[in-house]
Symmetry: D3
Subunit: 289 residues, 6 copies
């Protein structure tokens, strides 16, 4: 079971200049093979299917807990796409290749990649073999880092930059976590490959505040009281900086979602939003809010 918190893991800027082409690129981070739906669903299924938890608790806790954080990442990607699409007029969008943002969605995120191809369960690897799954996860985070770096370069919209700056740092934490887990089981020191791709995170301005806050070496516990044994794995020196890795017994306080104003030309949430708002206000009042 989960508890949802109606806040975002990082602060995103409010809507500014619309950027439909950029929003299409950011979709790769949502529903691409290496997008956040993939990281979320891979770790989620691996945690569901984890056999012999009682015997391998620290590894179960690590994977299950990272899965929890990934939920917050699909949320961030969606918020970014909504922000970038806010204000695009449907009658100006005929030349956009990503027409389904307007014809099928309501200027919102779709579970699809940058070409509109839907995310598929085919992208999930849950073999049951712990070493194999950890190897996969390390590779997946590597591919995901690559995708984030490329979206960063392609898009200079402030929301896309805020998103990728944060995801690069947090994805790096997961990459380290899986590498360390592999090392502890097999003795392989894959962390010597860091960073992969080989762009130091601190070269990216939007990453720096998060590095300064230590987010690159911190694993939050996205839970009230579980997954504590992740601490038995996520420890030791960070492969790039040498700082000590740490699991902290808390989760980010978070930030409010950026505003997503109505877009009546796609009927979101209605052709006449005020009518919905009036009904909502009456219902809220009746219920004592």
């Amino acid at each position: 079971m989960i508890l949802r918190i109606d806040r975002l893991g990082v602060e995103l800027p409010p809507p500014s200049t619309p950027d439909p082409a950029g929003a299409a690129a950011v979709q790769e981070l949502m529903g691409g093979k290496f997008g956040e739906m993939s990281t979320l669903m891979n770790y989620t299924f691996q945690s569901f299917n984890f056999r012999y938890r009682q015997g391998a608790r620290p590894f179960y806790d690590l994977i299950a807990n990272i899965a929890a954080e990934e939920y917050g990442h699909i949320e961030l990607v969606a918020a970014t796409i909504n922000t970038m699409l806010t204000g695009v007029k449907i009658d100006d969008a005929k030349d956009e290749p990503y027409k389904q943002h307007f014809l099928f969605g309501g200027k919102g995120a779709l579970p699809a990649d940058s070409h509109g191809k839907p995310w598929t369960g085919d992208y999930v690897h849950s073999s049951g073999d712990l070493v194999e799954d950890l190897t996969h996860n390390y590779f997946l985070e590597t591919g995901a880092r690559s995708g984030k770096l490329r979206v960063y370069e392609m898009c200079d919209h402030p929301a896309a930059r805020a998103l990728t700056g944060y995801l690069l740092v947090r994805g790096g934490v997961h990459q380290v976590a899986y590498a360390r887990a592999l090392e502890l089981i097999t003795g392989s020191d894959i962390t010597k490959a860091f960073p992969a791709p080989r762009i130091p995170t601190d070269k990216i301005p939007e990453c720096r505040p998060h590095l300064e806050a230590g987010l690159h070496r911190t694993l939050y516990r996205f839970t009230l009281e579980d997954y504590e044994q992740a601490k038995a794995v996520f420890k030791g020196p960070h492969p790039e900086t040498g700082e000590e890795l740490a699991v902290v017994d808390e989760y980010p306080e978070g930030f409010p979602w950026p505003e997503a104003p109505p877009e009546p030309d796609v009927f979101a949430p209605d052709y006449a939003p005020d009518e919905i708002a009036e009904i909502a206000a009456r219902l809220a009042k009746e219920a004592g809010f």
Copy 2:
């Protein structure tokens, strides 16, 4: 963001007689068009993409909160499939049509349907139009109820029955919730169609304990402090029983996961599980557990 709780919403029986053909059927409730991945991802994307939240808060809160519960449902389906596959020997499984449980997964759940077709983002409808999305959701829950009833009939394995008994009751709550939301906005009384499909839930023995506990008229808040305005929508009489609907300010205490013992013939979590266990024990000890 979410917080994960390492417990299940309902008690599932421990592994007993393996039932690979039944596990294949239960996959329809995971990755089929009307499976729990679909309910989870539909409501999740609708909540991410909800425009004008400030003006339509009660409806946002309702959808976002139901989305949170659905995460617990994919968890339950996965646990059931793992339970039903526990103990199947891979050298006895050659005649099973669902070979990927053994060849590709580790006797665990896959994000796919009863034929092995992967779940796809194509199953998500997030149009931005609130009335349209609610209409969709009502229909989706109707199709999902149909699927659960049919899996119930096809499978008499105790885990499948415990699962479907619970999901039928909880799915019914969501069906009522969306119908009520539609009614409050448009005045349409779709609740007269209940139950749909037209099998009274109380005819199903595995549903009865949950009905007696009132679970059919209760919406949990799967959150610490958000989504409270769902109360402005989920109220009034239950369409079948006339009892008052209620949003409660808590979530289920939950039950431990059923045991999922190692299955060395698919290397889950390893060909020699004890070696993993030994490493894990040492790490846990080093970390003070």
Copy 3:
């Protein structure tokens, strides 16, 4: 079995300024999840699979007869796309995202959506449960209306406007029909949700002539002598106008297809169309035409 009539349900303008980007948008109405292939194939399969026809004749007749009309709708969408692509030069089309109109098709319609993703049988829902299928159909028509409205807004090409103006009115008839059928079986008054999406059809200039001709409250019988009991369902007041609904014992006289001149740069129907024409003329003459 069917009999084809070589005419279209509504008059479409002849080719004018080519509009390849608009044609790509119109593809959403062909092969998108809510396109006309979906409405056609859903009702067609439901009619094929309808069990207990002798006991539920009026509902069978309704669905089977609407299925017949939908065939005419995929025809109209195809004619529109052909019209909008007429005159695009392949050497000017390199920058079009929808390259397959030129590389794979012959400047004609493809059974695919606005991104080129092929229509799939996954979009068909034929559960066997009459109430469930009617609920689905009502939802499908709602989503289809949404798509038509959005294509209307995105495209100002006269063919796209003539198409969507007509489809919005006819789709509305089907939406009413399924809502009424649901009401007659279950007592639910979903028609209070009309119009959905909430844009009155008469606000759309291209709809008005059809409204004035009463097409919004008329169900044609697309048959010589069958499906008459649809009259037992499609009756009563139109939910928006209060006018009486009526099944008429005829079908539209129709209009000729707009001209589709040869496009030799994609070899349609040939690199040297006149050679084909010469052969055809000779054969026709030999056969006495």
Copy 4:
């Protein structure tokens, strides 16, 4: 536009011994790459997209008219599958690989192949080039004949045999038609390859009555008054028998659909079919039937 006739092109036997494995095989003739949905949609799209009709009328008429007959073929395949599934109990079906007949459909046909893979628009070839499309169609009918022969061999259920006996003869007519069209345009005599696959149709007992009735050399006009110039192409000797080919100005009288009784365990058309029947009877009476 089309007019539907509520009769089938050939007489099918009533339900007898259920045959779910056979019904799964027959699905290949529905939604497989060479199934009837493919023949229907290929010729339908080619007719929609046919450029320069005025110059190439006999070929347009031929393709458009054959497309019309194919609609009747998907109808027949669906009726066969329904017949073969009638009487299968859902609680006996757990071991069937084709579980979606029970879990997702209502013991009816799905737009999918023998493995449950949905039919896709990818199977449609409509290049605009007449010679290319005719070449395709000839190949498609060849592959389709192959599929029918193999289903014939795999399934001895009387409905499957009645279906394939008829389709083999009618498919053969279409194969001849496209070969002749190619010959008339290019001079190529592909008809020397007949029959392909090389099993003489008259070796198949279920084909013989249709051969004796001359159905192998007759092209019906599935229309009231169009497509007459098909006569300019479909003529000359039948490549196997030497008999004269003929387009006839009529369509088959047809046969009633086999009975498809309710199947309450999949709620088709309802869990309690009599309640639906009662409502239907009342509505029919009110409407004067």
Copy 5:
């Protein structure tokens, strides 16, 4: 088994003006239904699955040998795409519809079509029936010729022109080969349909040097000592020119690959290519190169 030769079948020009839109079009020749992956994999699987080789050797040898040539064709298409993408800056590519060249690939070819839809095994036809497979292959080459002609017209980049000029000639050889094989088995003279589509190859300037070199009537043996009996089939007059067809006991000498310089903005082969080069140089030196 195969032996690879690190050279290309035709000379391609070096990178010049980048042409990302053209590269997207060329993808249709890679992963489209009629692309080179389709010709490669169709003939490859047919050769693997060829039954009764001892009895039908000349046909086996023909198909197996053509399959070998097709490998060289996917190679050429890939080299062309790489060439056309060389020099595109990722920060200029946001408006390109084919974003995955930059976000997912490293400015290289993807096994996908011009819309980014992945190539699929669905495109392979290997029925086991020799006549049916040859008919398919003839059709496939016809569709492939059509695609090449259209890409030729859409793209004037010198690499695209060099590619299509060569592929049109070589594809024509395969088209003739399958037609001749069909003729020898069945007596059907499909070669009268040549050229299909009906554009004489010698009208295309980029084809002419290859025609002058006789490449349109020559089948290479892509093998050291096998497949010789292809000579028993590929013989007789070329259907267009009347020249004698010939199987030659050699394969092309080939040309070096065009240069593919590093593209650091997509980390290909690295963010800092020189570091890789340094390592490589050291390793090569250590190994005595």
Copy 6:
């Protein structure tokens, strides 16, 4: 370009007891995500797209050369499937879930997985980043080893055992090769994870003869004169045995394909194979064979 050799890399037994269920399992090694089509196409595309070859030759040579070997592996899988399907009667195959072996293929291999889902270009990873691609390849070989081990366990047919025994050894070589390449670039010692999955290859009887022949530490050069610098990478001690790795300047002599007799009930190569054989014999004779 490639040269094909009409021999197999390992000796396969002739057809014996047919095993259609086993053949379906072996399909996972053909068209599954970790099947041989995936290894073939991943390395092939990476070699095509390799940028800065002149600077990173040893790595290019390694990948390109391994790609060449993989072609021989899809060949072996196909031969095995054909062998296992030889002798299955189509009229006995109705209960097989993998019906397309009979209805669509000619008792031969399909480019699809164990459920019949087609292989897709989605399975190819060619990022351009050398370290990322090597990481992927190491993971891919790990997943592939896992699949082979599981097929080995599920199938005791002698052809399946001969296949998997060989592929496990050869796949292990590739796993080592990519790990060593990663090590040489980054310093990461992933080889400590060997074997992964953790089943020593020498515990498998069918592997032992190949181990004794040293095949586990030998990289063949599948080329006449290229790819020699692979020697600069594939060297050093084998991670499990400590023996020296070696690139040899030759390729296997190979073995003849097992017999694949005609299967007339699926028309492979014909309904009357002798007629084809007669034609073939005549043609061969005419051509001087």
